[in-house]
């Protein structure tokens, strides 16, 4: 972050995407988070992903609740509408917004307090509904804005800044999403942009609810010795199993990988995600195996990262509802009203 606003002029040499836009065109207003905050790296990754996708900025809808993480939706893609709603209830805003217009990209940014405590119910039901959105949790195990209380994702034995030890078991959003039928479940680390950017693109392209739980250390309240969400701890204990590369329809898979290391998953828009498996035995399309694998590794204190599970066949919110292809906020009144003649027919049975 920086307290000096950058001028809005692009250097002619800045690279441009298919729309002729530079990365600067996908930035937002200046971050007001602490210097070194993991969340700012996530913001940068989202900016990068939107630029790489050549997304029209107004096509992105940015939704959030309350907390440090939720502020970040102001810090990227200022050409897209943002809605900083109420604590823990962004998923319901997303439900309505997605119902109204199925043609936009929806990204929700939340934190571990916003998602796993006050918003746990709404989070669970957004997964069940399989809303077509990318839901990012910037997970740091701590309440930042209220200065350092444990959150529901704090690990047993993790120490607060003043030495207090957490004794309650954590709620793991990735395991939760797997049990609730999540159709795209990933974990990443704010310090690993190479892993995070393709995951964000794949999550936005996935038809249905894409969760990325991003371990995003809080430099001010949870980056000390004894914390299991510090930069040092996460770097030491994190292990990628499946990385994702996004492949657009026209692009060919050119990189060469050893057999058994890669697998391609076709997305609904015709593009593919190329999965690079760092553990050849791992199958991200098998929900039960994914769950067991995660559980086992967690018991050894390891954070498994990457695209942990994907199920592209799961019907999304609009498929279940059989919503018409036109965004319903663009239907004409004539398409919606049965007219006076219709009313006469309707009322016949009330005589």
């Amino acid at each position: 972050m920086s307290f000096i606003a950058k001028p809005r002029v692009a250097h002619p040499s800045l690279p441009r995407n298919e729309l002729g836009l530079t990365r600067r065109d996908y930035e937002g207003s200046m971050s007001t988070l602490c210097a070194g905050c993991g969340h700012d790296s996530v913001t940068a990754a989202i900016t990068e992903a939107a630029w790489e996708m050549s997304m029209r900025p107004e096509q992105l809808v940015k939704l959030s609740g309350i907390g440090c993480s939720s502020k970040t939706t102001a810090y990227f893609v200022s050409g897209g509408h943002g809605f900083n709603s109420v604590h823990g209830r962004m998923p319901s805003i997303a439900t309505g917004a997605i119902a109204a217009n199925r043609d936009l990209y929806y990204i929700g940014v939340s934190g571990d307090g916003d998602t796993l405590s006050i918003g746990f119910g709404q989070f669970a039901h957004a997964i069940r509904r399989n809303l077509n959105m990318l839901y990012i949790i910037e997970n740091n195990g701590v309440y930042g804005l209220t200065k350092g209380q444990f959150s529901a994702s704090a690990d047993v034995g993790s120490k607060a800044k003043r030495g207090e030890e957490n004794r309650q078991p954590p709620i793991d959003p990735v395991l939760t999403a797997l049990t609730l039928g999540g159709s795209f479940v990933a974990r990443s680390f704010s310090g690993d942009k190479e892993q995070l950017v393709p995951l964000i693109i794949a999550g936005l392209k996935h038809r249905g609810f894409a969760l990325i739980d991003v371990l995003s250390p809080c430099v001010t309240f949870n980056d000390h010795e004894g914390s299991t969400k510090s930069y040092a701890y996460v770097r030491d204990h994190y292990d990628a199993v499946v990385n994702a590369d996004f492949v657009a329809p026209a692009q060919e898979i050119t990189a060469s990988y050893a057999a058994g290391e890669t697998m391609s998953v076709a997305l609904h828009d015709g593009s593919n995600i190329l999965l690079r498996k760092l553990d050849p035995s791992y199958d991200p399309t098998d929900r039960t195996k994914a769950y067991n694998y995660l559980r086992t590794r967690m018991s050894h204190g390891e954070y498994v990262t990457g695209l942990i599970h994907i199920d592209e066949s799961s019907p999304d919110f609009h498929e279940v509802n059989a919503t018409t292809a036109t965004p319903i906020n663009q239907l004409s009144y004539e398409q919606l009203s049965p007219g006076s003649e219709g009313l006469r027919k309707i009322l016949a049975r009330y005589r």
């Binding site: 509408h81 109420v86 018409t324």
Partner: protein, 612 residues
Amino acid sequence: MLHAADSKDRINDFVIKLANVNGTGSASANTLLMKSIFRMGVPVMGKNYFPSNIQGLPTWYEIRVTRDGHVARSGRVDIMVAMNAETYARDLKDVSPGGYFIYDSTWPRPALLKRDDITILGVPLARMCNETFQGVRARILLKNIMYAGLLGALLDIDLDVMRTMLGESYANKKALLDSNVRALEIGYAYAREHFTCPLPLHVAPMNATAGHIMIDGNTAAALGCLYAGATVGAWYPITPSTSLMDAFKSFCQKWRTDPQSGARNFVIVQCEDELAAIGAVIGASWNGARAFTPTSGPGISLMNEFIGLAYYSEVPAVIFDIQRVGPSTGMPTRTQQCDLLLAAYASHGDTRHVLLFPNSPEECFYMAAQAFDLAERLQTPVFVMSDLDIGMNDWMCPTLQWDDAYRPDRGKVLSREQIEELEKFHRYRDLDGDGIPYRTLPGVHPKGAYFTRGSGHNQYGAYTEDSAEYQIVLDRLQRKFDTARALVPPAVFAGTGTQDIGIVSLGSCDGAIREATDLLARRGIEVDYMRVRAFPFGPEVEEFLAAHSVSFVVEQNRDAQLRSLLTLETAVDKAKLRSILHYSGLPLASSIVVEGVLAGVGRQPQRLAVTG
């Protein structure tokens, strides 16, 4: 006596009350009775007093046959059809002198059923059913149709009309139709054979229901949503609002679904709770769809936080509050007007909301549609304050009309072209002096993008903690509320406008008050009547209160919430407002209003009738 006892005067002017056990299928028999009378051209009123239970608890249905077209309870019971032995004692007590008590004499109860001033008619309904029909369930269900047939003969209801109605109900179920018609005819024949038919109080054909329908307020409100072009309904089931979304869904399935592809031009989301329901409404409205949620008091309590967000970030939302008895869970199947203050000032901080007060299913229809126009014009939540009595009872209403020239008022939403022409878009500036800013929708133009927030913001839409910038927005919201005053439906008046005494009321009290003003006039007490139809109050409300030396404020809650709103929001002298409060959970009866006014003007508060 309020009603003449002369039996000649009682033709098409009496009350039938039917006491049943919940879950035994009595509703269809009671509807059959009421609608048959309606189809004979005679105005009727029906009220269902049901328990919060699926099966086993007592339930009552009241049919008022009213040649003068009254729409409220009178407070009398002329014929009690007592089909629940558990409640015989209280049902017997309820019958007005000169009335009738009909019960199932398969099990005679001569010791219990004693009253000299009424006529007791025993009919062996269960025995006749058991002799005619097979199966426990069929016998229970058909006993109801049998008493409908019995009443048909006693009250001179056209048997052909009743048969036709059954034919419509069981159009594709021949076996069911046959057994129902048989039960009807057995009851009818029994009455003709054993009693002098018709009774002195009975039905005679009229021509006073042409151009009318029988409809409940929730169905009418759902129709209003359909015609307003609402596309997103989000809700959590709660009595007594559930039937609103049920109706909306069935209308949409018929009229908004492509018959070939099955594609739907609507989205209905049954949410995990009311918090999510209002969140989805706000999300959808923010994104340019017309969205609504039906709920009741407990739901509004839960929605408070989001309602404040919608108020402050200026997002339209339409909320139907089908009020029920509070506080807390209260009595979910009883009616009250107890959420007025809750809705008017819902949420923390300085918030005030637009409320509409329909008096009938007819107004539920028109006000539902109007609520969307107001919400989008004013960019704020709008509440339609219905109640259980309006929402769940069938009311006789003039046939609903729709003007095909209607087009939704989407308010100040900038198009792509309009945004293109702007140098810069500022979300919360008052450019027109009416307190209403311009809005943009997501996906339209990058220059129209802004950040919606419930935290402090300035008129340009940016975050602020600056006192002056914050106050500019808050003061404009107040101006916007003043603009609403002129947009909401004005109060309606009855009477000469020159009287000393006023009656002020709202919503479902209307029918009882209109009848009461007639009854009072017959006693030489002339009053003027004002029914407020919306909050904020317009200048006409202030003028009425100023012009009357005393106004009786009639409402269905304990705490005089309308009176409180009037004293808070107008300059009226509090001492001039006297309350007539009814909060038993039953719909207001005209007798209660008459008694209240009589007592208030120092007349002997004569007991007029048994009151609820």
